[in-house]
Amino acid sequence: MRDVLLVIPSILMMAAPILIAAMGGLVSERSGIVNIALEGLMGIGAFTAATAHYFMEGSLGGASVWVALILAAMAGLTVSLIHAFASVSLGADQVISGTGINLLAIGVPVFLAQIIFKMERTQPFRIGMMPGPGGVYPTAYIALAVVLATWYVLYKRPVGLRLRACGEHPQAAAGAGIDVVAMRYAAVMASGALAGLAGACLVLTQTIQYTQHTINGAGFIALAAVSFGRWTPKGVTGSSILFGTAVALAIYMVNVESLRGLPPEFFSVLPYLITLGTLVAFSGKDWAPRAAGKPFDKGRS
């Protein structure tokens, strides 16, 4: 029992970034834009945070991580503008422009690291984010705040209703006087900011520097969490925590005596297997926003 309690903080640590990124993906998809660039945007955020924190921790001390989080969100937002411009303004294939950003995000951080640090990773920072009472990192509270804010805006504010309308039937929404293009831009930018924030949360709690393997599929898992969670804040929260648990257990179970016989790869593969399994078990397009993935063409009805 004590073991179970001990593993909860690390589950929260693993689940928080996935949850934050998944909320971003949720907002974007509900507006009608599929954002498979979550993975890349998390990488951009993680690199920004790791770099900013390394340079600031000496002078700013404890405030440094928070500034790093904000900078990471801004970096994610900026890069997501590429996706917004391509998929909203130009009606591009959303999967292709997202893939482009994912490819860019493999190259750009390491390129910049080579310029700034003269090596293929960032210089490790001394102390990351400090855990609070019970060993729970503040990222868990950030994630909770993001979930509540997403739910409140999407379901309790007029702007949320309009945003969801753009994802279901953009022509009807436009007919009712909603600026579909502006709405989708806002949603993609929000998802970019959240993915950047998620990447920062990940790098500041789980590791000490940015490398090419820092994100390692967390953004793609978040993407799967959105569809497994059936595009609602409640569902996506549940699925993100499930995936986070799988990732945390993968790390934790390696150290459990009775499971020593199994190779570590067995546990590493579990989150992806569970994600795939749930994707299949709960698939079916019926739950997805109807217009997700389709470019908005004003002239079509």
């Binding site: 591009a92 482009g100 310029i115 790869e265």
Partner: protein, 398 residues
């Protein structure tokens, strides 16, 4: 109305002369997919050059490295070594094949991000076949390559089946299968007796793709029989797509799934077939890397990224056999120039940035076409109004 239609149809000289002159240059590029790809690649290199300038390095180093990778001619030292040409072709080989993988699925309307996983499956099976099959010259290597392609075809086919049977998104499914393939590959490869955490015992000579005459020709480069497999695959891709019923059914499904269904094409079967063939191409890439580059089996420590770069290759090659072949050579050039750039003080990741930018630009080209069409429509509308008013004026005069 008839007047507008006529103007829109014919290469009306009046239309061109009045308001499209400024866009004529762009029209040339928009005329075909191939020309668009050339424009997109040029833009990618332009942006790469600007980025290098922005960080205060000399872009000349990038172009010198590219020239050396392509021709073997080292400008800075004035020496010529054909080995670089061999390395370029060798590194292009898996890229062409993963590009064919992505492209084949794309023609059937599926987005295959899973080439990386299919590549890993092919690579792993080829290594096992090399270590465990009887060591008969020629027979063993042929069997190893065939088994790798077959195994990867199954791995890809699973995705097609999940798509057809459960309507599971092939994008998320392939991404998950990439990671699953990666960890499984590590697991089973490390279980081979004599393997450590990064390599297996040496592979027997009878299982290797080395071609002595190619090595002599290219001054000891890694170029091997795999390059011929890639050429054969390009031709096979083209043949299947353009000259078989299967290819026709796949293309029809990709263009309009409902129309294909209505005309009796089994779209479900198309999904499985196309993903299986796509997987086979990626598996060949894995087999060639496993049996052609290293003398031992590898325990992978990360993705080789051939699969992900195959996405860019297919997009630039417009998912046609020969287009992918040429695009594979282009991206192979970028990859083989990486170490040469690094030694000239250019961070080698610039090539990844260029690949990424090229894909972003490819996604923009739909919008670019839209813009041109919109300009043309606007110009025609202006003409039509003018013509209308002239007619009206004429009627009044009469």
């Amino acid at each position: 109305m008839a007047r507008i239609d006529r103007a829109a149809r014919g290469p009306d000289s009046a239309v061109r002369s009045r308001s499209l002159d400024a866009f004529h240059f762009l029209d040339i590029f928009a005329a075909s997919d191939a020309r668009m790809s050339v424009l997109v690649v040029l833009l990618g290199f332009l942006a790469g050059t600007l980025i290098i300038l922005a960080v205060g390095r000399n872009p000349g180093g990038m172009f010198a490295a590219l020239l050396q990778a392509m021709t073997g001619w080292d400008l800075t030292r004035g020496v010529w070594n054909i080995r670089y040409v061999g390395e370029w072709l060798a590194i292009s080989t898996p890229l062409i094949l993963t590009g064919l993988s992505m492209g084949f699925a794309a023609r059937a309307g599926l987005f295959n991000i899973g080439a990386e996983g299919q590549y890993i499956v092919g690579l792993t099976i080829a290594q096992f076949a090399a270590l465990y099959l009887p060591q008969i010259p020629v027979v063993q290597v042929v069997l190893a390559v065939a088994l790798a392609a077959a195994g990867a075809a199954v791995w890809g086919g699973i995705v097609g089946w999940l798509k057809a049977r459960f309507n599971a998104s092939e994008v998320v499914a392939t991404i998950m299968l990439n990671y699953i393939a990666f960890f499984l590959s590590r697991w089973v490869t490390m279980a081979i007796p004599g393997a450590n955490t990064y390599k297996t015992p040496n592979l027997p000579q009878s299982a290797q793709l080395d071609a002595g005459f190619l090595q002599r020709l290219t001054n000891g480069s890694n170029l091997n029989y795999g390059f011929f497999i890639a050429i054969a695959s390009v031709i096979a891709f083209w043949w299947i797509m353009e000259h078989t019923r299967t290819g026709f059914a796949l293309r029809a499904t990709g263009m309009n799934r409902d129309a294909a269904l209505a005309s009796g094409i089994k779209a479900e079967r198309s999904a499985v077939t196309s993903m299986a063939i796509a997987g086979a191409f990626a598996g060949l890439a894995g087999a060639i890397v496993a049996l052609g580059s290293f003398g031992y089996g590898r325990v992978l420590s990360g993705f080789d990224n051939y699969g992900f770069n195959g996405i860019a290759v297919a997009l630039v090659g417009n998912s046609t056999g020969f287009g992918v072949g040429i695009a594979g050579l282009l991206f192979g050039l970028l990859a083989s120039a990486q170490p040469l750039m690094q030694s000239r003080g250019i961070p080698k990741e610039i090539t990844l940035i260029i690949s990424g930018l090229v894909v972003v630009f490819v996604s923009l080209r739909a919008g670019f076409r839209m813009l041109l069409a919109w300009r043309r429509r606007a110009a025609l509308a202006v003409m039509a109004t003018k013509a209308e008013s002239e007619t009206v004026q004429g009627e009044i005069d009469a």
